[in-house]
């Protein structure tokens, strides 16, 4: 009897990822048991939730009658400050990110440079924006300077990492062809690497602009300037209608940025 005759007429199943059945079932049962146990440890104070629902309802209802006028100068000033912070930090952050991204791409940077750039990225990514902002507010005092520095710092970790990964996955042969012509390193980057990663760089930059704007609304909560400060004050005074107005403006601007990024990315493909 040949090998073929043995398999003919028998059903076929995809081989399981974990081959030993007892181990497979132990893992599945263990995971489900852990999940149930974990949910049971979360305590919910139902009477507090009931009270809170009333406040939540007020907050949601405020969106039906947002108040743009009472605090209009505060909102306007906060918005302008946020936008300035966003643009300034994005430009500075991106400008610093590009050389770091080049250094953090293993296929174009020598090992020591690679390690230095990767550690800069790791530090920037490990420190969450709020923590950096608290530190910088402590150093530079309240106001948009601390926010600007925080966002620039955060941009470096984000953009350098993703750009470096794009550089690492570029088409090697296109870059090799430029090298074969006798180009200098800078020319090689400009002709062989840059055109390949440009769409990604532009896409990431706009996305980061969008993130920086949203973050600038948060950073105000710890005193780093921008619309967040105005928003925080509104919450503190239970002025939900003003808070709703601010949130609506933020949503509007984020949507506008989203649309803009779509248009630009379609054009640079």
């Amino acid at each position: 009897m040949s090998d073929l005759d043995i398999v003919i007429g028998k059903p076929w199943r995809k081989p399981s990822f974990i081959k030993r059945p007892w181990l497979r079932w132990a893992l599945i049962v263990g995971f489900v048991a852990y999940l149930i146990a974990a949910y049971l440890t979360v305590e919910v104070n139902w009477s507090r939730v009931y009270e809170g629902l009333e406040r939540g309802k007020k907050f949601v209802l405020a969106f039906t009658s947002p108040d743009f006028t009472t605090r209009s100068t505060d909102i306007y000033e906060g918005m302008v400050e946020s936008i300035i912070m966003t643009i300034a930090s994005s430009v500075v952050g991106i400008a610093i990110s590009i050389p770091i991204a080049l250094g953090a791409a293993r296929n174009i940077a020598p090992l020591p440079v690679y390690l230095i750039c990767r550690s800069i990225i790791a530090v920037s990514r490990a420190l969450q924006e709020i923590i950096v902002a608290i530190l910088l507010v402590a150093i530079f005092g309240f106001g948009p300077l601390a926010g600007f520095l925080t966002l620039s710092f955060a941009t470096i970790g984000f953009l350098s990492k993703l750009l470096a990964e794009d550089i690492e996955s570029m088409d090697k042969v296109q870059a090799e062809a430029i090298k074969a012509s006798g180009a200098k390193w800078t020319q090689w980057i400009n002709y062989g690497v840059q055109p390949q990663v440009m769409p990604r760089l532009i896409g990431l930059s706009i996305y980061r602009l969008d993130i920086n704007f949203r973050e600038s609304a948060i950073l105000g909560l710890v005193g780093a300037g921008g619309i967040g400060a105005t928003l925080n004050t509104a919450f503190d005074r239970y002025e939900y209608d003003t808070a709703a107005a601010i949130l609506l403006i933020i949503i509007l601007i984020v949507m506008a940025l989203e649309y803009l990024s779509g248009v630009i990315r379609a054009r640079v493909q």
């Binding site: 062809a177 090298k179 012509s181 006798g182 180009a183 200098k184 800078t186 090689w188 400009n190």
Partner: protein, 263 residues
């Protein structure tokens, strides 16, 4: 004009791609490098311009020893070696003109190239070359809008605008249809003749190689197995290069091709 002495390349994995290859290419000679996949053809031509660093041995271009050069001097010597790639290797998001002019990068400074302000003589030469290969009207198209044959023509222009003494050609017809393959090979050989260039052409297609070149080198496991005129490629020789196979059909096809080419 080009001389390889005991050229050896051993990859980090331990694979010996080239085993002490000796080769002399005189001025103006076009030679084809044939051999099975993995025989070391690509490695050989990449060791000449040091896109792949040879493990030992020497490469001379004219009187200059390429193997010992510092990176600055290597760049200067690379200008004298134009390279044409498999799958074209054009920078796809650059225009045809930028791709051609990138062949001049070894001659112009960074800012000039960054601002795309190339000397008038370079721009004129680029248009002359594009016109020669019939693509002058495509100058401002993006490279990825072109067909395969057109892209390879642009690749040829990019190599020639370097004003090289030697062309290194890596599988120029690998992804082209049979007719375009012949046109590209014919174009390369014509241009070499016009300009008195020597060329090393890596090629899979034995019949195509026989049609166009004066000398054939057969490579097997990183060593030269055959070196002679294309007529010397008998079934026995092909068997030593590629292994046992019925070669009559390949060789007959060549005869028909010759007739067709003569027409």
């Amino acid at each position: 004009m080009l001389r390889l002495e005991k050229l050896v390349k051993t990859y980090k994995t331990g694979d010996q791609a080239l085993k002490a290859v000796d080769l002399v290419v005189p001025e103006g000679q076009v030679l084809a490098l044939i051999g099975p996949s993995g025989a070391g053809k690509s490695t050989l031509i990449r060791c000449i311009n040091r896109l792949v660093e040879p493990s030992s041995g020497k490469v001379y271009l004219g009187d200059v020893e390429l193997t010992g050069l510092s990176s600055g001097n290597l760049r200067r010597e690379r200008r004298r070696m134009g390279m044409i790639f498999q799958e074209y290797a054009l920078v796809e998001r650059l225009s045809v003109m930028e791709n051609v002019l990138s062949g001049r990068l070894g001659y112009v400074g960074f800012w000039r190239s960054f601002l795309r302000r190339f000397p008038q003589s370079d721009v004129d030469e680029a248009f002359r070359l594009l016109d020669r290969v019939g693509l002058a009207h495509m100058a401002d198209k993006r490279a990825d809008e072109l067909s395969g044959g057109q892209r390879q023509r642009v690749g040829i222009c990019r190599a020639l605008i370097q004003n090289p003494a030697l062309l290194l050609v890596d599988e120029p017809t690998a992804s082209l249809d049979p007719k375009t393959s012949r046109q590209i090979m014919r174009l390369i050989c014509e241009l070499c003749k016009e300009r008195g260039l020597a060329a090393i052409i890596n090629i899979h297609d034995v019949a195509l190689a026989q049609m166009f070149v004066q000398r054939v080198i057969g490579l097997r496991f990183g060593a030269v197995e055959f070196d002679g005129p294309p007529e010397g490629l008998t079934p026995e020789v092909l068997t030593t290069i590629y292994g046992e196979e019925d070669w009559e059909a390949t060789i007959e096809a060549v005869d028909e091709d010759d007739i067709e080419a003569a027409e």
